[in-house]
C-alpha cells in the first residue's frame, strides 16, 4: 500500500473512533433535509437547477466576454481589478497592497477562496494580522484548524471545545453555553472592525452586467468587514461570474435553500465599485482568482463542475462525509465537489485518496442545485488516478486477464464454488473466514457462490403464444450468487405470458473494472455484452441489478460516444434496457396481475442508489409490493446508501461501508417490519449479511422474489 494510502487510513480510523462527530453530522443531515424540503415547497427544484446549469454553462462557453464585461463595469465604477492566475499571485497582490498601505490588521469575512490560497499564512508572513470574523472561521483560527464544511466551517466542533478556546482568548472562564459564546464573539470581534484598515471578503457572485459582487451571509460580519475598513479586498473565483442581475437573483433563490434550508440568509449584500467611506471613498480591489478554474472549465470530462455555486449540499447528504467528516473526506473544499476541486486546484495527488473514498451512491447528484453529475466526474478522475498509479496488481490480473475472457472468468467462479465448501459448511452464507480475511466477515456474512449458477438451471419455458420475448441480463451476482432470483423472474414473467431468454455468452457488466479505473476492460466487456444481448433482437433487456442497468443504459453509451458504429448499437441496447419492476409496471402495465396474492406481511423498502438516482425507479417496486398484498412501512432514510458499493465494502473502505450499513440496519429494525425489500443483489448481499450477523429476524428479498412468493402462495391455496 502506498504511504499516502496508509496515512489516509489512519485519518479514517481516527474519525471512525469519534462517534460524537458522526452523531452530529447525522443529526445535521436529518434536520437539513427537513428544512430544505420546507424551503423549496411550491417550487420546482428540477426546473430551477436545470436553469442554473444552463446559465452557468453559457458563462463557461462565453467566459472571455463575460469576464471582460465584468472587469470593464467594475473599473468604470472605480474598483481595481486584478486577475490572479495562481494562488501565489493572489496572495502576493493582497499582501503587497497591505504592506504598501502600512496595514497591520485585516478583518476577514468567510471566504473559501482565501482558504484555498492560504491567504492568512501569506499575510502573516508579511507581518499583517488577519482576523477571521465569521464565528466558525474565528473558532478555527483560534485553534489552528481548517474548515470541515464549506458553509458551516466548525461543524465538527463542540461547545465545550469552543468555550475552552474562548476562555483562553478572554482570560476568563467562559461557560459552554451557546448564546453566551456567541455574545463573547460579538464583543471580542467588534473592536477588530473599527481598528482594521483592510477588510477582506469573498463573493458568491460577480455580476457581469453591473461589475458588482454579491455576498450571501447570515452573521452580519461581511457587512461590517466591507463597511468599516478603508480598503476592501474581495477575493473571487472566476467561476462566480453570472451574466445579469436576474441570473444572480436565480442563484440567490436557490443557494440558501439548498445550503442550509433557509428561505434566504439574513443578508444579501450587493457592492458595486468604490463607495463613500468616512470623508472620502473606499478603495475596492477585486482579485479574480483562476488557480485551476480555467483548466477545469476546459476539461472535457469535468467542465460541468464550473456550474457549482458552492452550497455545500453534496456533503450534507453524503454518507461517507457523515461517517468520517470533512477533514477526512475533503482537502480544502470537502464532499463530492471538494474531490473535483482539489484535483484541479491542488493536483490529482491530493485528490487521489478522496476519489477512492467516494462510495458512488449519487446522493450528491440528486441534491446538486446546478445539476452537476458529480459521481460521473469523480469516476472520470478515478480513471485518471488509475492511469497514473495503476489499480493494483491483484485487480489488474482479475480485470485484464480473467474477466475479459468470459470462459476463464466463469470457470474460475465455478471452481471457487467447490473450494469454498469448508467455509460454507453446505450453507448459503459464509459466516466466518479464516486468517487475514476474518475482517471481511466480522460484520456481515457473505453469500456463498451457488452450487449451480443461473445459466445452468435456466428453466425451459413452454408459453404457447408469449406476448413478448425478452432477455435477462443477469449480472454476476444474479448468476452466481442468487440464481433463484433469476428463476423467480422467469416465473413472474411467465405469469405475464412473457418469455425470458438468458444468452449464455453474457459477461460482467464492467462496472467493477470501470469503478476501479480500468476503462479498457470495461469497454471490452461492453462490446461482448452488446453483441450477445442484441443478437436475437429482443423487445426488452431486463435487469435485476440497477448497477448493471446503469452500465447498460449509461456507461456503454458513454464508452462509444466517439465511435459511430458501436454508439448506435449501445444506444439501441440502452433504449431496450429496463429494470424488472419498471418493465412490469410501466411497460406492461401489469401490476394488477399480482393483486393480493400474498398473506400480508410488514415490508419496508430500501431504495438502491443506482435504481433511484440512476435509473429513476422508486415508485414501481413499492407499487408492486403493495399490490401483491403486503403492508409497506417506510423506513427513515430509505434512499440512503446501504454501504455496499461493490468492491468498496471489500477492498476499498470496508470500515466506512460497515458504519454506513449500521445506520441502515438501525433504520430497518426501527420499522419492525418482517422483511426488507430491495431491487439490487448488491444491497441484498450487504443487508442480508449485516442482519444475519446481528441475528436479526428481518428477512431480505428482491421485489421480484416477493412477487414469485406471491404466485407460489396463490398456487398453494388454490
Amino acid at each position: 500500500m502506498k504511504e499516502r494510502s496508509k496515512a489516509y487510513q489512519v485519518r479514517i480510523d481516527k474519525a471512525l473512533a469519534t462517534p460524537r462527530l458522526q452523531q452530529a453530522l447525522h443529526q445535521f443531515g436529518d434536520a437539513y433535509l427537513l428544512a430544505r424540503e420546507k424551503a423549496f415547497s411550491g417550487l420546482d427544484f428540477e426546473a430551477l437547477r436545470q436553469e442554473i446549469g444552463e446559465m452557468k454553462d453559457d458563462v463557461r462557453r462565453h467566459h472571455v466576454r463575460y469576464l471582460k464585461q465584468f472587469i470593464d463595469n467594475a473599473e468604470a465604477a472605480g474598483a481595481k481589478v486584478y486577475l490572479a492566475k495562481t494562488a501565489e499571485e493572489a496572495n502576493r497582490y493582497i499582501a503587497d497592497l497591505a504592506v504598501e498601505k502600512g496595514i497591520k490588521l485585516a478583518v476577514k469575512s468567510k471566504s473559501m477562496a482565501s482558504e484555498e490560497t492560504h491567504l492568512n499564512k501569506a499575510l502573516e508572513q508579511a507581518n499583517i494580522k488577519p482576523l477571521e470574523t465569521d464565528l466558525g472561521e474565528w473558532i478555527l483560527q483560534l485553534c489552528g484548524q481548517r474548515p470541515s464544511h464549506m458553509v458551516m466551517p466548525a461543524i465538527h466542533m463542540f461547545k465545550e471545545e469552543v468555550a475552552d478556546l474562548f476562555s483562553r482568548e478572554t482570560g476568563r472562564t467562559e461557560a459552554a453555553d451557546i448564546p453566551h459564546l456567541v455574545e463573547v464573539a460579538r464583543q471580542q470581534l467588534r473592536q477588530g472592525y473599527l481598528d482594521a484598515d483592510m477588510g477582506i471578503s469573498g463573493a458568491n457572485m460577480a455580476i457581469a452586467e453591473t461589475g458588482g459582487i454579491a455576498l450571501v451571509t447570515n452573521e452580519g460580519n461581511a457587512r461590517l468587514t466591507t463597511t468599516l475598513p478603508k480598503t476592501h479586498v474581495a477575493l473571487v473565483g472566476i467561476d462566480k461570474l453570472v451574466p445579469t442581475l436576474e441570473d444572480a437573483a436565480k442563484v440567490i433563490r436557490v443557494l440558501p435553500k439548498n445550503a442550509t434550508g433557509q428561505a434566504l440568509t439574513s443578508y444579501v449584500t450587493w457592492i458595486s465599485g468604490a463607495v463613500p467611506s468616512g470623508d472620502g471613498e473606499k478603495e475596492l480591489h477585486i482579485v479574480l482568482l483562476d488557480n485551476g478554474r480555467s483548466r477545469l472549465a476546459e476539461d472535457e470530462k469535468c467542465c460541468e463542475t464550473s456550474r457549482c455555486i458552492r452550497c455545500g449540499a453534496c456533503a450534507n447528504v453524503c454518507p461517507v462525509y457523515q461517517t468520517v467528516g470533512g477533514h477526512v473526506f475533503g482537502h480544502i473544499y470537502i464532499g463530492a465537489i471538494g474531490i473535483i476541486l482539489t484535483a484541479f486546484f491542488d493536483g490529482i495527488d491530493k485528490a487521489a485518496e478522496l476519489v477512492k473514498a467516494c462510495i458512488g451512491c449519487r446522493s450528491c447528484v440528486a441534491i446538486c442545485p446546478a445539476n452537476i453529475d458529480l459521481e460521473e466526474i469523480i469516476l472520470a478522475l478515478r480513471e485518471t488516478v488509475a492511469d497514473q498509479e495503476g489499480i493494483g496488481s491483484g485487480k489488474a490480473l482479475v480485470f485484464k486477464k480473467v474477466m475479459r475472457n468470459r470462459k476463464l472468468f466463469h470457470s474460475l467462479i465455478r471452481a471457487a464454488s467447490k473450494v469454498q465448501k469448508p467455509l460454507t459448511r453446505g450453507e448459503r452464507t459464509i459466516r466466518h473466514l479464516p486468517l487475514f480475511f476474518t475482517s471481511l466477515t466480522e460484520w456481515r456474512t457473505l453469500p456463498a457462490i451457488a452450487d449451480k449458477p443461473l445459466r445452468d438451471i435456466w428453466p425451459q419455458q413452454q408459453l404457447v403464444k408469449p406476448q413478448q420475448k425478452v432477455v435477462l441480463f443477469g449480472g454476476c451476482a444474479n448468476d452466481f450468487l442468487y440464481p433463484e432470483l433469476g428463476t423467480d423472474l422467469v416465473q413472474v414473467m411467465n405469469h405475464l405470458n412473457v418469455q425470458v431468454d438468458y444468452p449464455l455468452e453474457q459477461n460482467c457488466c464492467g462496472i467493477p473494472a470501470l469503478y476501479s479505473g480500468d476503462k479498457e476492460t470495461a469497454v471490452l466487456l461492453a462490446k461482448q455484452n452488446i453483441d450477445v444481448l442484441l443478437a436475437d433482437d429482443p423487445v426488452a433487456v431486463l435487469t435485476t441489478c440497477p448497477t448493471c442497468t446503469m452500465a447498460l443504459k449509461r456507461d456503454f453509451v458513454e464508452h462509444f460516444k466517439d465511435d459511430p458504429l458501436w454508439r448506435a448499437r449501445a444506444e439501441k441496447l440502452a433504449s431496450l434496457t429496463v429494470d424488472a419492476a419498471g418493465y412490469i409496471v410501466n411497460q406492461l402495465k401489469a401490476a394488477s396481475h399480482f393483486e393480493d396474492l400474498s398473506t400480508p406481511q410488514k415490508i419496508t423498502y430500501h431504495d438502491s442508489c443506482h435504481l433511484k438516482r440512476g435509473a429513476g425507479g422508486w415508485r414501481e417496486p413499492r407499487q408492486l409490493i403493495e399490490t401483491v398484498g403486503h403492508q409497506l412501512i417506510e423506513m427513515d432514510h430509505a434512499d440512503r446508501c446501504c454501504g455496499f458499493g461493490g468492491s468498496y465494502s471489500f477492498t476499498g473502505h470496508p470500515e466506512i461501508a460497515r458504519k454506513i450499513l449500521d445506520d441502515k440496519l438501525v433504520d430497518i429494525e426501527k420499522t419492525e417490519a418482517d422483511w426488507v425489500a430491495m431491487d439490487c443483489p448488491g444491497c441484498m448481499m450487504q443487508m442480508r449479511g449485516g442482519l444475519e450477523k446481528k441475528e436479526s429476524k428481518v428477512r431480505v428479498a428482491h421485489t421480484i422474489e416477493l412477487l414469485a412468493r406471491g404466485l407460489r402462495e396463490a398456487k398453494h391455496n388454490d
Binding site: 443529526q27 445535521f28 468604470a76 465604477a77 472605480g78 470574523t133 465569521d134 464565528l135 466558525g136 473558532i139 458551516m152 466551517p153 466548525a154 466542533m157 463542540f158 461547545k159 469552543v162 451557546i178 448564546p179 459564546l181 456567541v182 464573539a185 460579538r186 470581534l189 467588534r190 473599527l194 453591473t210 461589475g211 458588482g212 447570515n218 452573521e219 452580519g220 460580519n221 457587512r223 461590517l224 466591507t226 463597511t227 468599516l228 442581475l245 436576474e246 437573483a249 436565480k250 440567490i252 433563490r253 428561505a263 434566504l264 440568509t265 439574513s266 443578508y267 444579501v268 449584500t269 450587493w270 457592492i271 458595486s272 465599485g273 468604490a274 463607495v275 463613500p276 467611506s277 468616512g278
Partner: protein, 181 residues
C-alpha cells in the same frame, strides 16, 4: 402579497408593527430603542422631519459617525421596498451612514410603506437595476430578519455581529417610490 410578506418576515425573526401614522411609529421607537439612536439622512425621513419627532419623544440622537455608531443602542432607517416571499427589506446603503446605523447598533428600526412590497427576488430585479443605473457605485443591502449564526453545534443563535433585534414599522403613507429611502 402583504400577508405573504408579514408571514415571511415574522418567520425570519423580525418584529412587525403596524403603525397608524408616523407619530405611532415614533412612539414605538421611543419605547423600544433602549438608548441613543442613529438616524441617517434620507428623503422620506426628512420629509416628516423624523429627527425632530424622535427628539421630541425624548430620544437622544447621536451624530452618525463611526466613533459614535458603536455606542448607539438603535439605528432608525427607511427602506426602499420589501420582498414578499422571503420577508426581505431592501436598503439603498451607499451612504456610509445607512450602513453604520444598520450594522453596529443592537436594534434596527425600519420604516416601510406597505405599498412598496414586490412579490419575490425576481420581481426585485427591476428596481435593483434602476438603482444601479441611477448610481453605478452602490452598496445595496437585502436584510431578512436579525443577524444569526448556527456555527456552534448548528444551534440557531440570534445576533452575532449585526443587529439582534429587527423591527419593521409598517406605514400607510410614507413613500410610494420604490427607489426612495
Amino acid at each position: 402579497m402583504r400577508k405573504c410578506f408579514y408571514q415571511a418576515a415574522e418567520a425570519s425573526g423580525a418584529v412587525l408593527v403596524e403603525c397608524k401614522n408616523v407619530a405611532t411609529a415614533v412612539e414605538y421607537i421611543a419605547r423600544h430603542a433602549a438608548g441613543a439612536v442613529l438616524l441617517p439622512a434620507s428623503p422620506s425621513c426628512e420629509r416628516v422631519n423624523l429627527a425632530e419627532q424622535l427628539r421630541r419623544a425624548g430620544l437622544d440622537l447621536l451624530p452618525v459617525a463611526r466613533e459614535h455608531a458603536a455606542e448607539a443602542a438603535a439605528g432608525v432607517t427607511s427602506t426602499c421596498f420589501a420582498i414578499a416571499d422571503t420577508g426581505t427589506l431592501v436598503l439603498e446603503s451607499t451612504a456610509e451612514d445607512v450602513r453604520l446605523a444598520s450594522t453596529l447598533p443592537t436594534r434596527h428600526f425600519i420604516l416601510l410603506d406597505q405599498r412598496k412590497i414586490v412579490a419575490d427576488g425576481l420581481a426585485a430585479v427591476e428596481p435593483l437595476r434602476q438603482m444601479h443605473q441611477q448610481n453605478p457605485r452602490n452598496y445595496i443591502a437585502y436584510i431578512t430578519g436579525p443577524s444569526r449564526t448556527a456555527d456552534i453545534e448548528r444551534v440557531l443563535t440570534i445576533g452575532v455581529h449585526g443587529p439582534k433585534e429587527l423591527y419593521i414599522l409598517l406605514l400607510g403613507d410614507w413613500s410610494s417610490d420604490l427607489l426612495e429611502m
